[in-house]
Symmetry: C2
Subunit: 431 residues, 2 copies
């Protein structure tokens, strides 16, 4: 069977770009679309990818030069409903892989405007796509990136999207009850309900990938050339926890655990993200079917992850300290967590479990780009779930940003008040 056309929305992002390359390498005709708004948000927040990344035109040109495979690049905002409809109508894709959303929980918690923008951007953009599919490509398989964060942390086992409930002598298979933990996570839940409805009413077919926290920066395709690299975020707005820990370790700063660190989540390697998307694509649902795959390979607590990074450093005789910061989020820090993640394994996923070598690889990459690290970004985040915050940092907030509440490792620096060396000075020391 010849692989068909796949439209990847959000193609300029961390996972969107890696997915474009993986599907192109697998023989799919990839159309890569993105509004490039994330590059604008980086300017707003004063953040940037630790790994320098090229523009989309440069990356697709390089990919074609190296492999002979063409990725069609299209600048597109999902908020532009008629442009979305035109692209879908013209492309008649076998599948649409939809990463094109504001995907930072802290960004969504900054203030009212960021909360409203996140929900409007994500929910209305996805609605625009759903109507384009209904009207122009109703057989297309929608592969939507959701999040494990839609579930929250219930005190029962988490199933994959649906649960059979027995109640007062009757039984039904119903959507799993959801308790998202930020306006961003809520936007993904709103999407999930909208998509499920459109499958039921219009006969669309969709896979909702409830993804865990992704780490790593390398895939087979990205490894082909440095110019193909995808973005790598380590800051407090866009960075995810394991990537942040590796960067902290690389520059000799303490690993910053929010609160007790008992928060347990599902995690996966970026190589498994691209494989999962491909597996969903190769095994489409029936028309009218809405299905959920929990897309992660291992569960870790935040404190457990910090210990893993610390242990990986110890293996090289390097010392890493861990500090517990006041938790800027409102979340349970000690809870039951057991989430099923069987369906992608059943389709053939071969997980890359977290190993010291991965941690070493991220740390080595970080050290290569050490000059691009802003150490302030590795401290207590500015955005608090209770009172919001600002995405950027000012000199005054920098001084008070890092307030460790507990030091676990003997080697940790206890820093507070005016006697604290500046982050820049500490970074210089660490080097």
């Amino acid at each position: 069977m010849t692989a068909g056309t796949v439209l990847v929305l959000g193609a300029d992002g961390y996972l969107g770009w890696a997915t474009c390359l993986h599907l192109s390498a697998g023989g799919y005709q990839v159309i890569a679309a993105d509004s490039l708004v994330r590059r604008r948000w980086d300017r707003e927040c004063g953040t940037r990818s630790l790994i320098p990344i090229r523009s989309m035109p440069e990356r697709v040109r390089l990919w074609q030069k190296l492999t002979g495979r063409r990725i069609a690049w299209s600048r597109l905002d999902l908020g532009d409903a008629s442009a979305v409809a035109d692209l879908v109508a013209q492309a008649q894709p076998e599948a649409v892989v939809h990463f094109a959303e504001q995907r930072s929980a802290p960004f969504s918690m900054i203030d009212r405007a960021h909360a409203a923008m996140t929900q409007a951007n994500n929910v209305i953009g996805t609605l625009n796509l759903l109507f384009a599919l209904r009207d122009h490509a109703p057989d297309t398989h929608l592969i939507k990136l959701g999040t494990m964060g839609e579930y929250g942390t219930p005190n029962i086992d988490i199933e994959e999207g649906f649960i059979t409930i027995n109640h007062n002598g009757r039984s039904d298979r119903l959507p799993f009850p959801m308790q998202p933990g930020s306006f961003y996570h809520l936007s993904k839940l709103h999407d999930s309900h909208n998509i499920q409805f459109c499958c039921r009413v219009w006969g669309l077919r969709a896979t909702d990938l409830h993804q865990g926290v992704v780490y790593g920066w390398r895939t087979d395709e990205i490894d082909a050339h440095p110019g193909l690299r995808t973005r790598f975020d380590y800051d407090a707005i866009w960075g995810t926890v394991l990537n942040r820990f590796c960067v902290q370790a690389a520059v000799g700063l303490p690993l910053t655990v929010y609160g007790k660190g008992g928060q347990t989540r599902g995690f996966l390697d970026i190589r498994d993200t691209v494989a999962c998307v491909r597996l969903a694509l190769q095994n489409p649902p029936a028309n009218g079917e809405y299905r959920v795959f929990n897309q992660f390979t291992e569960q870790f607590s935040v404190a457990g992850l910090a210990a893993k990074v610390s242990d990986a450093r110890t293996a090289h005789d390097l010392k890493t300290s861990i500090v517990h910061l006041p938790n800027p989020r409102v979340e349970r820090e000690d809870h039951y967590y057991n989430a099923r993640h069987q369906r992608l394994l059943d389709l053939g996923l071969q997980p890359h479990y977290l190993a010291d070598t991965l941690i070493d690889s991220v740390i080595a990459m970080t050290q290569r780009y050490g000059g691009r690290v802003d150490p302030v970004e590795l401290e207590q985040p500015n955005v608090d779930w209770r009172r919001g915050g600002v995405p950027w940092r000012t000199p005054s907030t920098k001084q008070e940003a890092l307030r460790p509440v507990q030091v676990l490792s003997a080697g940790a620096n206890r820093r507070s008040g005016a006697a604290t060396p500046s982050p820049k000075a500490r970074l210089a020391q660490a080097r």
Copy 2:
């Protein structure tokens, strides 16, 4: 205890206005706010209230003249975040009663633009209100009008917002799984999740009234003067089922049941709506608490309601026919339905159960305003859940609008094709 200030949002609507009067009569200082957008939507759809209604300034003036009680009127759009914040900050209300949403399922299903507008309007408007409460009045009790339609029709008993689930040997009390049936109902579910989150994270307190289908037009306060009347919708976009049946019966047209008519829902009298809001207000939740009350008093199937209206007419020796139309919605037409509705009864609600006298009263009112009835609005609706539609009716669609698939009563007119008398002609005959 002196009753405090209550801000009623959506005060120009069917239930919003009735609530303003009821709370003002109860001694509350009512601030009535509305964007008046519904009057604009009426112009867009070519619909109008069967009962003529006065402007908001006229109604509040008349109320003050009759009772000496002042209702402060404010034109306000919840989309204007700073105006919302200013009003909340200034009023420091004991409670905000929030009706201010696009509330028609068919309107939300017209096309992409109406779906997106409904979700953006409702979700972002409510977010603006939530942030205003967090920042300016965190102790205010938010009383939000949700809908029983958030639950859908599960095959188990419906609880009030939460359900205890036992699963694999563990147990948790979790949000009841939801399966809304239109973009409008989905917007209410998105709101519910957002509000629940804000209670958890910010310590707000909220009552989410999952309301059934409301019928009737009179309350004790409205009865004080014809100039105080609230709107009464009977058309296919804004009208609800029992009100529509009464109008159909009044003008001698068949009662139009969608599909089999086994669709079962919760219903309540408008007098109970205003009482429920007052009971919620008088019994506020604790700070940080999010609670759900299922706000209805009786369950009926659509076919059962049609039979009740027909029976009420028979008692006066009048004959009413019932036709089953192709169902424009995608919904189960034969299903289990048993929804708990205990919490408002526990607070003291004295239900007005559906009686022939109510049906007679609505029919009598309709006959008084018979000249305002557009019979085309009482036929097969233009908006279909699968393909959308237009809110207004054109001559060509009028001709094909009514296609009965099954005639239950012997007296029903079987009408199809060119031989069908025009709706106007039939109405004239019926009179």
